[in-house]
Symmetry: D2
Subunit: 322 residues, 4 copies
C-alpha cells in the first residue's frame, strides 16, 4: 500500500529500512552496520550490487555510507571536529589519490537563499581553495607535498540560472579537467529523527528526483566524464511524509492495540485498496510544497556545512590526523 | 478529545472554527464575515465580549480582524499594494488619532535570524521612521500636516537579550512616551492553508503562549501603559498540529466512510479516552520543535513584511488613498 | 609624471578626460557627448577605432557608452525606472537580435560577500530567467513572442573557486551555446564624483587588470567564442587615487596661486623626476588594499543592481516601453 | 593650521600623538606605554585627569586603554584567542565585580546593515546571554558560581528607530537595573594603519560626535544611571582625513627635502593662513560622506567582533584563563 505514496527519502539507509520493516529480503543489496560507542556515531553501509537491487531500491548501483550522530545537531565544537575527522576517514575510502597532482572540483548544490537548501553553497564557502595557488606557484609554495588541487563552484538552481546544473558542471569539468567531482547537497529524509544528524556519502553521484531512470540531469561519471562522489545531509522531511508515517503507525496500532482489538480485526478484513482510500482522504492538499524543519535550521545548516568543509580540508591538505 | 492536545493556533478565527466544527455555541463571542469579491479578500471579525468567552476561546477579551487573501503568497506587486490599502483601512478602525502630535512605537517582535520568525524585524526595516525628524524640524518640514511621529524597535528574543521583551518595551515606552504601540509578530496557524495568506489585527496586544493567564510577559496596555495593537501573520504550523489534524480527519472518516462502516461502528463503541490513547502513540516524539513551512519562506516573509510596512506607512503619513 | 602611478580607472570616459586635461590629442579615439536635460542624464560615447588609440588609452578597440546620472545614488523608484528604460535603449544598440530564438547568458561577476563587489551577483539575482521554461514549454507558453532565452551564472571570484572566471564561462558557453554573453561587474573609478552614479556599457568584453595585453583571463569573443557586452558601475575609488588626485591639484595650485607665486616659480624650476620624488614620499604604504566608498554602499549597490536587472528584463522580454 | 580641519579620530591615542607631533605638552594628560613582545601587542594607556586636559584633548576625563596588534586583521584563530585573553585582562581592570549577583547589559551600537558599522551588533550576536537563565534557575544551574548575569541589546541607529540611542538604553536600564553597561561601537581612526588592528577600552562611556560638550546624547553614567564602559575598534578612516594626512606629509617634505630646499624656503616664508588656503583648494567636495576601508571589511569585522565577544564571555563566565 505504502508504495503508492510518493514517500520521498534520499537516504539509501531509509529505503533499506522500509523493506526490512516489511520483512522483504532484497537480492543484490548488502547491509553492514558499525557503531563507534565513544563518539556515539552509527555507521551503516548499504551496497547495491546488482541492477535488480537498484530497481527495487529505486537508487543506482553503488556504495552508500551513512554516519548517524545524534549530537550533530548540537553546537559542540569539539564534537564537530571529531565528526570531521571521522567523515574524512570514510571519504578517503572512495578516493584513490595516486596521481602526483590530484585535482578535485567541489560542487555546492542547492539554493543559497533557501536556508535548508543552502548546505552545498555553505560548504563551498568554507573550503581551502588551492588550485589557483598551486597552478601559479607550485605545491611546495604551500608547505605541503601531498596537497591536492581544490576548486569549487556554486552553480545555483535552475530557477536562478535557466540551465540544468549538469550543463554547468559538464562545461566546467571539460575546461578545468579535475580528476574527481564531489557534489554536496541537502537531502530530504523520511524520518524527522534523522534531520541534521546524518551524513550520507555515495559513490553514485547525484540523481535528481528519486528514480533510477531519468539519466538526463544526473551528475554522474556518465554525464560529466569523471567520477562523482555525493555528500548529503537531510535537512527537511516532506510534510506529507510526516503525515503518512503517522498513518502507518496508526494502522499498525489498530492491528495490535489491546484496547482496540475490535477495530484491528475489522481492519484486517479490509484490502490494501480500502486502506488506501482511507488514507487518501486524510492527506491534505495544502501539504504540497510544505516541509518540516527545525526552527534553528539557519544555525544548524551553518554548523554542519562547516563540519563537512573541515573534513574536506583535512582530506585534501594531506595532513594526517592522530 | 482534541482539547487534550496542545493544538496551537494564534488565530482567533481558527479557534472559533473549532467550536463551530463541534457545533458548540459560545456565549460572549460574536462573529462577522465579509467578502471583497473583486480582491478575493475575506474579512472575519471575531469579538470576544465577555470573560466567559475569553475563557472558552483561550484568548483575551477584544476584537480580532482577520484578512484572508489566497493570493498574498504570490509575488504580484499590484495585488500587494491593494492589500496594503485594505489593511490600512482596518488598522485605522483601531486607532483614534485625535491628537495634534500622535506618536506611535512599532515593535518588530521575533528573531531576525530565523526566517519564519523574522516578519516583525523585516516590517520595522521598511518603515518610514519620522519621530526624530519631526522632533528636530517639526512636521511641516516634511511637507505633510497630518503626519504622526513613528519610531520603531527590534528588541530581539529572550535567548539573544536575556530580557523579557516586555521589559525592553516598557522601558522604551516610559522614556519616549508614544501614544500607541503596534507590535508585529509571526504567528503559528493550525491550518496549512492559512500560511502566509492571512493577516490578523487585534486590539488586545501580544500574549506569549496561548493562555489567557500568564499576564507577566504579555505586551498589553496593562503591562506597558499605552494601548497595544497586534498585527500577525501565520508563517508556520507546528508539525504536531498537522499530524493531529490528519488524525481528526481519519477518525471522522472512520465514522462516515461507507467502505469502512464496520470500523466506524467499532470506533463508536470506544470512549474518548480510548481514542486518545490511540492517537498518543502516533505522535512522534521527534516532532517536538519541528514546524511546517513552505520552501520559499525566505522570499514570502520579505514580501508580506513589505506589504505590512506599506500599510503602516500609508496610515501614518496621513495620505488618503483613493 | 602621472603615468608613473598606477592610477586605476575602469571608465574609458575618465581615461579620455585625462588626456584632455593635458591637452593631448589622441589619434583613433572619437568622443561624442549628449545630454538628456529632462532626466539629467549625460551620455558619453568613446570610440576607440585603431590599435594606436587602444595603446594610448590602455583599453581595447571598441565602443564605450557611459551614462552619468547624479540622481542614480538617490532612492527614487520612479527615476530608477527611467534609467532602466534609457539603459535598455543603449544596450539594444549593441545587440543584433535577428534570430528566432535568441539566447543570452548573463554573467554576474564579482564577490557576493564583499559589498562594493556584489553588483554582478545582485543583478543576476533579479533577472527574469526564461531559458529553462522556453526549452521545456516553448516561448508561446510565456505569452510573448519576441522573448529571448535568458540564462545566468554567478561564477564567484578566483579565491572562492580556484579557477579563472573565463574557464568557467568558457565551459558553460560551450555546453549551453548562448548567442551572447552579458557580463556585469563593479568597477573602480578615478573620481569619487562618479561613484554609483555612472553606468558604462562596452562591446569589448571584460579585461581584468587594465592593460590591453594580458589576454589570458579576458572574457571576450576571442576567449569564450561569442560576443561579450560588458556593463559596469564604479562602486569604489582606490584610496591611492584619491591621494594622487589631491597632489595633482596641489601641484597645479602651486603653479597658479597668486599667494604662492614664489613656490610656483621654484616648482617650475624642478624636473618631473624631482616632482615625482616629492609625491612618492607622500603616498602612505598603508593605503595598499584600501578603497574609498560611501557609507550607504550596501543599499546603493542593491538599488543600482535592480535598475540594471530591470533594463535587461525589459530588453529581453521583447516589450516596448513608451 | 591643522586644527582648522575636522580631522576626526575616536582614538584618544591618536589625539595624544598629534600633540606630540607638534611637541605640545598637555597638562592633565598622562601617557603610559607597554609592549608584549611575544604577542606583538602594544598597550597604551591615556589618562585624562583634569578638565583642562579634557578640553585640549576634546575627550572627557577618564582612562583610555588601547591595544594595538598588527596581526589582528589576519585570520589566525589561535592569535585571536590570545587577544581575547589579553582584552579580558584589561577589561577586568575597569570592572569592580564585588556583588553576589553582578549584572551587565551589553549594548551593540551601530547599524547591522552597514558593514563597517556592524561591529556592535555582531558582538552582541556572539555573547553568552545568561540573565534569563539565572533569573529562572539560579546560577548554580549553570555549573559556575562566579557567573555574572549578562543581557544584551542591539538598539539600532536613529534613522532606523526614530529615537536617540540613549533613550532606548536609559529605558532598558531603568527596567532591568544592570550594575554596568558595556557599549560596543565601531570607530573612525585617523591613520589607516590602525584600521581593524586596534581596540580601545574607555571608562568614559560613549560620546557621539567628538566634542566634550553636547552631553544630551551621550551614553554615560550621568545619562543612564550606571557606569558605562566603551569598547571600540576603528573600522574606517574618513576620506578627507587620508587626504589631509598626505598634505601634512607633503608640507613637512617641502621644508626638509634636500632636492626641494628652494620650495621649502619659500614655504617657510608663508603664514599658516596662506598654507591653509593652499590645502583648502585640494580637498574635493566629493569626499563628503566617503570613507576608506579595506576590501575584506565584511570578514574582518566578523572576526574582530568574535574576538571581543569571546573576551566578554571569558570575563563574565568567571573562568580563569591560564
Amino acid at each position: 500500500m505504502i508504495e503508492k505514496y510518493s514517500i520521498r527519502t534520499d537516504l539509501a539507509l531509509e529505503q533499506k529500512e522500509r523493506f526490512e520493516a516489511e520483512q522483504v529480503e532484497i537480492q543484490g543489496v548488502v547491509l553492514e552496520e558499525d557503531y563507534d560507542e565513544e563518539r556515539e556515531i552509527k555507521i551503516t553501509t548499504v551496497k547495491i550490487e546488482t541492477e535488480n537491487g537498484a530497481k527495487v531500491m529505486g537508487k543506482p548501483v553503488g556504495t552508500y555510507i551513512t554516519m548517524e550522530a545524534p549530537n550533530m545537531a548540537v553546537p559542540d565544537e569539539e564534537y564537530h571536529r571529531e565528526i570531521s575527522v571521522e567523515l574524512r576517514k570514510y571519504l578517503s575510502r572512495f578516493i584513490k589519490n595516486e596521481k602526483e597532482e590530484y585535482s578535485v572540483l567541489v560542487v555546492g548544490l542547492g539554493n543559497r537563499k533557501v536556508t535548508p537548501d543552502a548546505l552545498g553553497p555553505y560548504v563551498a564557502d568554507n573550503l581551502n581553495i588551492t588550485r589557483h595557488v598551486i597552478k601559479e606557484y607550485g605545491k611546495y609554495a604551500m608547505g605541503e607535498d601531498k596537497l591536492s588541487l581544490v576548486s569549487a563552484i556554486v552553480p545555483g538552481v535552475m530557477a536562478q540560472t535557466g540551465m540544468e546544473t549538469v550543463e554547468i558542471i559538464k562545461g566546467v569539468v571539460s575546461e578545468t579537467k579535475p580528476d574527481l567531482v564531489i557534489a554536496i547537497d541537502a537531502l530530504a529524509a523520511r524520518s524527522s529523527k534523522r534531520l541534521n544528524r546524518t551524513i550520507q556519502i555515495a559513490d553514485t553521484g547525484i540523481h535528481p528526483g528519486s528514480g533510477v531512470g531519468n539519466h538526463r540531469n544526473a551528475i554522474t561519471e556518465e554525464t560529466v566524464g569523471v567520477p562523482v562522489i555525493a555528500i548529503g545531509v537531510p535537512t527537511v522531511v516532506d510534510a506529507a511524509t510526516i503525515v503518512n508515517d503517522t498513518m502507518e503507525n496508526f494502522l499498525a496500532a489498530l492491528e495490535s492495540s489491546e484496547a482496540l482489538k475490535g477495530v484491528g480485526l475489522v481492519m484486517q478484513g479490509y484490502s490494501g485498496a480500502e486502506k488506501y482510500e482511507l488514507v487518501k482522504e486524510l492527506i491534505s492538499p495544502h501539504l504540497n510544497g510544505l516541509f518540516v524543519t527545525p526552527k534553528d535550521i539557519d544555525e544548524t545548516v551553518k554548523r554542519i556545512s562547516y563540519t563537512i568543509s573541515e573534513a574536506l580540508n583535512l582530506l585534501f591538505s594531506g595532513r594526517t590526523c592522530t
